[in-house]
């Protein structure tokens, strides 16, 4: 408590994306500053490889840069769109690189980006993240593991069935019931599902 910050970032996500649609390079930089850490965190969680995760993040932001005109500003969340791209590309990369060593080289000591651009946006994200973590923690273990193996692990239903020694139908059922419970928990906690 007590640390001074700069004022809030005045540009909404929608305004930034509208600027990206106008080919404003500063806007894509601002979007990266806002969500680059989150995008990298997701890609790194899936790939467990810094270099591969950075490639995916760069690829995803380039996709936003090139496809921004196809995004309807009055529908959906820019953050959700970006992170969906990151997830798809990370899973593609994971499955395309099956069998590779996930840690080809030691991690470098890298200066952390300590400056938070907009603590208020960070607070909103963190609050939602806390709700989500609590929601996941309340799921039965088998449902939570199934969802995490699929979403973060990139495993297919058949691979999960084999790993957990259950029929594929059971895996699908756990995914469905788990997501349904999670949706109810998030809605009940006031998280906007867009």
């Amino acid at each position: 408590m007590g640390e001074s910050t700069t004022g809030p970032n005045a540009e909404s996500d929608q305004a930034l994306l509208a600027a990206v649609q106008r080919r404003d390079e500063r806007a894509i930089a601002a979007l990266y500053d806002r969500y680059g850490g989150l995008a990298f965190g997701l890609a790194y969680r899936i790939l467990d490889d810094r270099g591969a995760a950075e490639d995916v993040v760069q690829d995803a932001f380039m996709s936003v840069w090139r496809r921004a005109v196809s995004f309807q500003l009055d529908r959906g969340s820019v953050r959700t769109w970006l992170l969906s791209i990151v997830h798809h590309r990370a899973i593609d990369r994971l499955r395309g690189a099956a069998g590779k060593s996930r840690r080809d080289e030691p991690l470098d000591e890298i200066d952390r980006i300590a400056q938070v651009d907009d603590p208020w946006r960070e607070v909103s994200i963190r609050v939602q993240g806390d709700v989500l973590k609590r929601g996941l923690a309340t799921l039965p273990e088998a449902q939570r593991q199934t969802i995490e193996l699929a979403y973060f692990g990139g495993y297919t239903q058949q691979e999960i069935a084999t790993a957990m020694d259950v029929p594929v139908g059971t895996v699908k059922g756990r995914m469905r019931i788990g997501l349904q419970k999670l949706r109810e928990l998030l809605s009940g906690a006031g998280v906007e599902l867009t």
Partner: protein, 258 residues
Amino acid sequence: MSGRTVHDHDFNLEDGPAGPEACAFAAQGFPAAFVLEALDGDDVAAFRQHLPTCAICQAEVAAFGATTAQLPLAVELTEQPSPALRERLLAAVAADSAPAPTAPEPIALAERRWPRVYAVAAVILLVLSLGLLGWNLNLQRQMRQTQADLNAARNELAVYKLNPTSGQQATGEVLYLRDRQQAVLVVNNLPPLQPGQVYQIWLIDNGQPTGAGVFITPTTGISGNLARYQTIAVTIEPGPTGSAAPTMTPIVAGALSQ
């Protein structure tokens, strides 16, 4: 399992999954596995062929897709990208000399990288435009009205919990009367104020905080439409009127229903 066109049963696109037993794909959990990208190759192809024809599966994909879209927020951000990534990205953007497309790229459902929520939304629009779901829209409206009536009393009062931020102890609740757009904020274990300071309430929309009053006691009132905001937070600011913009990170914060 393909070949169905329109299902003659009740469903509600906005309220999420309903009646999955009426569709073999939905009953077997295809939509959930699809949004998690866990379907195997043959199943992906079969489900993509089926999806445009089935309102139940479209509703489940939309509902589960929105839920799945929140999962990245569960990631612990223990690692940060290297500063060089930003430089590489901006260099690539600068080098991208292609002129801006003048029209949206065509939506290809077979393109797995296209965000599925929007692809499904586009499919829904297409189906609607063909009039295949016209009668269902009427049904949905009736169902929503009925549901709205049933929920009216329950919806009058909303309770939102406030949790402490890092290093803080404060917790609280917001009791919000929706129909009157009046709320009571109760916060416990607030850190003590220094002379001349006040607690200030902030309502946050899309990351942008708006001041919503100051207080010095653990309980205070808030007037306004809280449904416009996603988050409520409290800071300590210079008194007596607080600040135009927050000058510190929040003490306590919580999510607000939409």
